[in-house]
Symmetry: C2
Subunit: 225 residues, 2 copies
DNA sequence: GGCTAAAGTGTCATGAAGTGACACTTGTCG
DNA sequence: CGACAAGTGTCACTTCATGACACTTTAGCC
């Protein structure tokens, strides 16, 4: 869930000016996320109970649900951050790039950053997320739903870049959903060897290249005149 | 006990030679689906419990779960059938149509059929599904997951049409996911008025048109040389 | 017809997710 | 310090989901 977003200054080494209560809350939240991922990595998503996560941090499971709306939610923190980073990267793209190109570079940039452990999160955890999502139906469903919800924001960002209004123009909607689709296809492609992708960033780049080039391929049965 | 069958069937010679057991099972299943949709329409998806559905058909809730893996599952019967119909329509398209075009016509054809109540299911229920999915997060997640799972099949169908191998060619993956994305974008667009779509089939057609034409629109900031 | 094996179902028990109510503790601020 | 609010624990409860076991119905066979 969206934190109340107090101060966003990770650079401050000293004590945060935001009051003890807020700091403690933040620490508990992070501890829950850490414990959750440790346990997920160890026993899988479905194999881990909320109670175990809460116990590992020494809070009641009731408290867990005061920080996260569901068990999925704690795992999806990640995608939340990635998505935010991606949006920010998108607005940083030069204004004259065509939309798909801009989105492509933004997404690939984030993927590379994740793989290298920049952006503040651990690349292992990034890897872990992919595994978890792949083998828990519940988490997969949650992940898809999350993406779906974020799509509206992406649609607006894309519309802004196109200088159009998403309330009256279907195009940004189709672009946004296709973009997310391409991303998912890429994530999928990673697990299918034979396609020969080592890194997510490579797969994403390839998928977007196809999307940019247009998808209306001829059928096999088409007779060349 | 519990022999109070709601609909007494004429004890005459069964027209179906398929065995009484099988017929009874089928009837129970259909009764569950019917009751579920009736209750969903009345009280919403989240507002309806499995027990209520089971009670309405006079079976135990344990039995409900012998027919459906989850509460979502019973609602998704529908998408299951639509998807199957769509695949079948796709293979019926002329062999020389380019892929996107073929998929577009198949999907639009199914949408029209649904709206008209052909294909054996009730158009009201079709409408109901859209409403339900829109206001239950759980059902939305389930629906998305279902689509995701079916995507693999669509990918193969598209690959077959292109005469290529999905294990070594990324294109059918991207096409399949984009196609599903376009469909979702269309479903979304229906609820956004201002886009001016009355029927799903119209929205789908428009979304596919955009997809076919290519999505890499210029940004507003692009300076025309 | 009657017997048997298996399919289908009900009942009971259990586990885990998620929520509401209420009291207790602790940080914040005057 | 004292009042107030935020955060938390505990308890009770609902719902989804699954496993175990016994009972009933059906199918198949003699």
């Amino acid at each position: 869930m969206t934190a109340t977003a107090p101060e966003a200054h990770p650079a401050g080494p000293g004590p945060h000016p935001a009051g003890r209560r807020e700091r403690k809350k933040q620490r508990t939240r992070e501890a829950l996320v850490d414990a959750a991922f440790r346990l997920f990595a160890e026993k899988g998503f479905d194999g881990t109970t909320v109670e175990e996560i809460a116990d590992a941090v020494d809070v009641s499971s009731r408290t867990f649900f005061r920080y996260f709306a569901s068990k999925e939610d704690v795992a999806l923190t990640f995608q939340e951050e990635q998505h935010a980073a991606m949006l920010s990267a998108l607005t940083d793209r030069p204004a004259d790039e065509p939309v798909l190109t801009a989105v492509r570079r933004a997404v690939v940039g984030i993927a590379v950053a994740c793989e290298r452990g920049d952006l503040g999160f651990d690349p292992d955890r990034f890897e872990c997320m992919m595994t978890l999502t792949a083998d828990s139906d519940n988490l997969m469903a949650g992940s898809l739903e999350h993406a779906q919800k974020k799509q509206a924001i992406l649609t607006r960002a894309i519309a802004a870049r196109m200088g159009t209004d998403p309330a009256t123009d279907l195009r940004p909607h189709v672009v946004a959903s296709s973009v997310i689709a391409a991303f998912h296809a890429a994530a999928d492609a990673l697990t299918t060897d034979g396609l020969g992708f080592e890194r997510l960033s490579d797969a994403v780049d390839a998928a977007f290249e196809l999307l940019e080039a247009g998808l209306n391929y001829p059928s096999e049965g088409a007779r060349p005149e």
